[in-house]
């Protein structure tokens, strides 16, 4: 299916960041991306576009290659072939940390909190361009970096208030619940003021009451103009949040469009959307 098919025809989620009747330029363009493991093609010739200001869903059965594709896009796994372009720049060979500095932040399938750091420290680690974050800055002492620190602490506390976790700021991140750890990951990513957020199953293992909260936060972020690619198995959340939705199976993209469109395609229903 061509990437142009990503243009929504009917969707349950609003499309923001696009002018009326004007196709937006993709924020990220993925062409023929492959990732092999010992001859096994986990990602096999994937071509997709990520449009700005939307939440794009990536779904498929276990082993479809979704998380591997997300890791390749984030640079945490190198691609075996193909190209990834972000904002018109070919970033295929860039390491993950360079992509992150360019505004592309990912979260992980398993909680990746810094367990022995407090919640506030978890967020501060993500602060970009901090004067105290180099050996030189550290050796020059507190006076050299305290202004940056105060600014970032204020930003982190704003985020904690926004996500209703202010009361937890001094607790070790490792002591939080699964849902709270997911929120920390999202807040940590937001500290970097990303342009593209890559979320790998952010609702996995999370209590149903928190899932609704996470969904509301993501809607708020989208409405604020953030572009999000989300790998998720919670289909009702995908339906609520995402347009377009990309379906993968056996390393390939087998369909994309709105959930309403996808439900009409027999092969996709057979492959994944059972029932």
């Amino acid at each position: 299916m061509s990437p142009s098919a990503l243009e929504p025809t009917a969707g349950s989620a609003p499309a923001t960041g696009t002018g009326p009747g004007v196709a937006p330029q993709p924020m990220m363009t993925v062409r023929n991306v492959e990732r092999h493991f010992e001859g096994m093609r986990a990602v096999d010739g994937v071509s997709i576009d990520i449009l700005p200001g939307r939440i794009t869903g990536l779904i498929g059965p276990n082993g479809a290659g979704k998380s591997t594709l997300l890791a390749v896009l984030a640079g945490t796994l190198p691609a075996s072939g193909g190209t990834v372009t972000f904002d018109g720049t070919d970033i295929t060979e860039w390491p993950a940390w360079r992509r992150a500095r360019h505004g592309m932040i990912r979260t992980f399938q398993l909680p990746s909190e810094f367990a022995e750091l407090t919640v506030l420290e978890n967020l501060l680690v993500a602060a970009p361009n901090h004067r105290g974050e180099s050996l030189r800055g550290a050796l020059l002492g507190r006076r050299y970096w305290i202004a940056d620190e105060r600014r970032e602490v204020a930003r982190a506390r704003e985020l904690l208030a926004r996500f209703s976790l202010s009361a937890k700021e001094s607790e070790y991140a490792g002591s939080l619940s699964g849902g709270q750890k997911r929120l920390i990951e999202i807040m940590r990513a937001l500290m970097l003021q990303p342009r593209l957020l890559l979320l790998d199953e952010p609702m996995s293992g999370v209590h149903p009451s928190i899932i609704g909260e996470i969904a509301r936060y993501l809607e708020g972020l989208r409405d604020g103009g953030l572009t999000i690619l989300i790998v998720e198995h919670e289909l009702h959340m995908i339906e609520r949040l995402c347009n377009p939705v990309i379906v993968m199976a056996q390393g390939k993209v087998i369909g994309q469009g709105s959930m309403i469109e996808l439900r009409r395609q027999r092969e996709i229903v057979d492959a994944y959307l059972v029932g």
């Binding site: 940390w97 992980f108 680690v125 993500a126 602490v153 208030a161 909260e213």
Partner: protein, 330 residues
């Protein structure tokens, strides 16, 4: 008695410096540097050959390179520099691509190889016999065997301890230290936040190498001998035990661990009555060190003085502090 006490004082100071360096690498950053003793040895050898006269002197009974006979403090400074410079190739090979457990194995192997090479390459650093008659700092101006000199040496050692502690505290308490701790917890997540883990690991590895080199210089300047038998790989394990027992990630813990394990524990067991076949008691000392590590990892993994979280001034209420509209919080 003076010699015993001053020797104990210098060893304590050197162990404190070494434990602070290892704490930066292992405790704070998660780098399992099982070759730490190699960097201390590199510093000791450097200080020794730069302080010694050419090997043709003293009847030519030992063979070594340089023999520059440079005045204090040049050998100490050079030792620190060599410790840091040696860290660069080792770090680039070991820390860039290997997983943490393989890094540890590679470091251990490096320690064994380095010791074997120095032992067998006699013209380089006098092989297994090692270097002796290393001139003490400023021994041309003062009587190096007088109690005043010995106590002054202890004082200088503790000044170096204070300096290293100050630098270590600055690192640990800074945002840089915070990022190092985050890297220890989840390296991939730190990478995904735009931090270059290779740069982070290399810088702290080099800092540790510099401090290790300095500690070797201080020690060899006092004991005046240095041989491969003094820096076998198990010496590193004692330092690891000290950091684990004291509290990894906490400089005070490293300091406490250094005083407790390499100094207190080893000195206390030194006076155990000899029994059984020769070598049994020293072997039991090692068994005790091993049990100490296992015991602490099992029952008190954070050590006696656990790492402390960062402290921040309490938040002051700010009108309109929330970023944007708050998506319905239940």
């Amino acid at each position: 008695m003076t010699y015993y006490l001053t020797t104990l004082g210098v060893y304590a100071g050197v162990d404190i410096i070494a434990c602070l360096a290892l704490n930066l690498q292992f405790g704070v950053s998660g780098i399992v540097n099982f070759s730490f003793i190699v960097f201390q040895a590199a510093g000791a050898y450097t200080a020794a050959v730069l302080a010694l006269p050419p090997d043709s002197q003293n009847g030519g009974f030992q063979h070594y390179v340089f023999g520059a006979q440079l005045p204090f403090p040049i050998p100490w400074i050079a030792a620190a520099v060599v410790g840091g410079v040696l860290s660069v190739p080792v770090g680039l090979v070991v820390l860039r691509h290997l997983r943490v457990d393989y890094q540890a194995i590679a470091m251990l192997v490096l320690s064994v190889i380095a010791n074997l090479v120095i032992t067998n390459a006699r013209p380089f650093l006098n092989g297994a016999a090692g270097l002796s008659l290393v001139p003490q700092p400023l021994s041309d101006r003062f009587n190096a065997y007088s109690p005043t000199y010995l106590w002054a040496y202890v004082a200088v050692t503790f000044v170096c301890c204070a300096l290293v502690f100050f630098v270590s505290q600055r690192i640990v308490k800074s945002p840089y230290g915070r990022t190092l701790r985050a890297m220890r917890e989840h390296e991939l997540a730190v990478t995904a936040l735009g931090k270059n883990p290779v740069v982070l690991k290399m810088t702290i590895f080099v800092v540790g190498g510099v401090i290790a080199g300095l500690s070797g210089a201080i020690l060899v300047g006092f004991i005046t001998i240095w041989a491969p038998s003094t820096w076998l790989y198990p010496e590193t394990l004692i330092l690891f035990a000290a950091v684990i027992v004291g509290g990894r990630g906490n400089n005070w813990g490293a300091l406490f661990g250094a005083a407790l394990v390499p100094v207190g524990f080893e000195e206390a067991t030194r006076y155990l009555p000899q029994f059984g076949p020769p070598g049994l008691v020293p072997a039991l000392q090692w068994v005790a060190i091993g049990l100490l590590i296992i015991g602490f990892l099992w029952f008190r993994p954070k050590g006696v003085l656990p790492e402390k979280p960062g402290r921040f001034a309490a938040a002051t209420p700010v009108v309109g502090a929330r970023l944007t509209k708050e998506p319905g919080v239940s």
